[in-house]
Amino acid sequence: MEVVVQVVFGLIALFILVAAAMVVSVRNVIHSALWLIACFFGVGALYLLLQAEFLAVVQVLVYVGAVSVLILFAIMLTRQISGEGVRQLTSRWPVVLVVTVLLFATVMAPTLINQQWNVPPAPPLGTPEPIAGPAELGRGFVNEFLIQFQVVGVLLTVALIGAIVIAFEERARRRRVLTLAEELELKRLRERATQTETPEPVEAEPVARETRPASEG
C-alpha cells in the first residue's frame, strides 16, 4: 500500500512540476493558461492525497471553475498581442532563472541537510484518525475565525466592486442595434426634446391602441 501511495505522490508531483514549468515557458498564452489549469488539478489531487477533501473540491470549484475561466476570458479580451511569435519573456530572464534557482537551493539546502521536523509518530494501525471535515470547518468559521471570515467576505465584496469599477466601459461607447420599438421611443423622446426648446404648440401624436379582448385583460 505504501508503495502505491508513493508512486501516486510521485506522479502527482511530477505532473504539477511539469505543468508549472510549461506555464512559465510556453509561448502561447492560451496554452500557458491551459497548463495552469492542469497544474491546479494536480494540486487538487495532492489535497485529496493529503485527505483534505473539502479543500480539494474548493480548489477545483474556485481555481478551475472561476479563476482559470477569468484568466482565459482576460486573455481573449486582450487577444491581438497574445498570440505566438511575440517574445513572451523579458530580456533578463536568465538572471531571474539564476535567482530563482538560488532561492530554491537556499530554501532546500537546510531542509535536506538537517531534517528536523517533529513529525508526531504515526498512530497505531486501525484507529481512524479524526480529520477535520466540512462541518468542523464551518463551525470554525463562525466561532474561532469569525473576524477573519468576515474580513475575507468584505475583501471579496470589495474585489467584486473594484473589478467592476476598474473594467467598466463607458456606456456611450457601446453600440447595439436598436429594436424598432426602441427606435420609436427614441424618436418620440427626441421630438419631446425639440418641443421643449421651441415653444410652438404641436398637436399630440395620434396613438394607436390595440383593442384587447376582455378575457385577456
Partner: protein, 441 residues
Amino acid sequence: MYDMLAALINGTLGWGWPEWALNLLSYILVVTIVLVVAPLQMLFFTYYERRVIARMQDRVGPNRVGPEGIWQPIADGVKMFTKEDIVPQAADRIVHFLAPCVVVAPTVLMFAVVPWGPGMVPVDLPTGLLFFFAISSISAVGLMMAGWASNNKFSLLGAMRAVAQMVSYEIPAVLSLIAIVIVVGSLSINDIIAYQTGLIVSNRDLPGIPDLGLGWFVFTPVGFVAFIAFFIAALAEGERTPFDIPEADSEIVAGYMTEYSGMKFGLFYLAQYVLNFLLCAITAIIFFGGWQGPGVGWLYAQGITPENPNGNGLFNVLAGVLGVFYFLLKTYLFFFVMVWLRGALPRLRIDQLMDFGWKFLIPLTLANLFSAALWVAFTRWGPAEGMLITVGWSPVLRWLAAFVVTLAINLGVYLWLTRVYAASQAERRRAELEELIAAGS
C-alpha cells in the same frame, strides 16, 4: 456495492477473496455501470425530447426506426460514428482534440455522487453536493478550449457566451442549494435525501409524521423558492431554451460546436444531454426527495441494512427497484418540463440573461438563504443558541411559525423584486435612449 460483493463472494460463494480484490472489483463494476448508464440516458433523452417537442408542435416526431422510432438514437449514433472527422486547418489541433474530452469527462464524473436508490450511490462523499458543482464547472474550461481552438469567430463567441452564462448562473444555483444545506446541515446527498421522509412535512422537522417518503423540500417556502431559482439556473447551466444563447443557431451557427463534426460533435452532444439528465436528477434529489416515495423506506427497512444485518435481501432488491423507478420518474418529469419550456419560450438576449441572473435570481436566493436560517432557528434552536421566542412552544407551533415567517419573507421579497426588477429594466432602457439622444446619433 462493496458490501454486496463481499457478502456474495466471501459469504455465499465462499471464495475468500482479499479486501483489495473486492474493492477493485466493486469499483470496476460501479464504473462500468456508470459508463453504460450515462450514454444510455443520453440516447433516451434525445429520443424523448424529439418526441415530446414534436407533440407540442402538433407533429409526430421520429417514428420510422423501430417501433415508434425507439431506435432512432441508435441510428443517429451510427451516423455520427461514420461521419468524417474534420479539423480546420488553422485550428490548434491538440486543444481542438482535447476539448470534447474535457467537456465529457466531468459529466461522467458527476454520476459518482448521484444516488439511484436506497443504498445505491457509487460514492457517498461528505461533500457530495459541492463535488457535483465543482466538477460541473470544469466543463466551462472545455467549452472555452473548443471555442478558442476552432479558430472560428462563431465558436469563440459561442464559447464566451456559454462560459459567461455558466459562471453567472452557478452563483444562484449554488446559493439556492445552500439554503437546503443550511436546513439539512450536511453536504452529503444521502443526508439530504434522508431528510425528506414524512408526508408533506418532513419527519425531521416534525417528528411523528408518518413516513411515506413525501416530506419533500419543495413543500416548504424555502424549498419552493430554492427549487424555482435552481431550476432556472439549471436551465442556464444546461444551455436549454430559453437560455440557449451559446448555441443560438440563428445567430452564431452552433456556437462552440461549429467546427466539430463526427464523433467529436457527438461527444459534445453527449455531454450536453448527460448534463441535462444530471441537472434534472439533482433537482429531483434535492427538492423532490430523489428515490423517496411511498413504500421505499418501509421496504428498505426490511432488507439488509447496517442497522439490521439479518434482514431479507429480497426486500433490498425491491426497495432498489422501486427507488430507481421513483427517481427516474421524477427526473424524466423534470426533463419534460425542460422540453415544455423549450416549446413555450423564445430565446433571451444576453443582456436580459445577465440582468435576470444578477439582479433578480441572486437577490432572491440571498433572501431565501435568510429564510432558511430562520427556518432552522424556529424549528431547531433553543435558548442555548439564543432563540428565546420559541421557548416552551410545541413542535407543531414551531413548525407553523417557521412556515409562516419564511413564507411571508419569501413572498414579500418575490413581489418586491419583480416590481423593482421590471422598473429597473424600464428605467435602464429609457436611460440608454436618452444617452443616445445626448450623443446625438
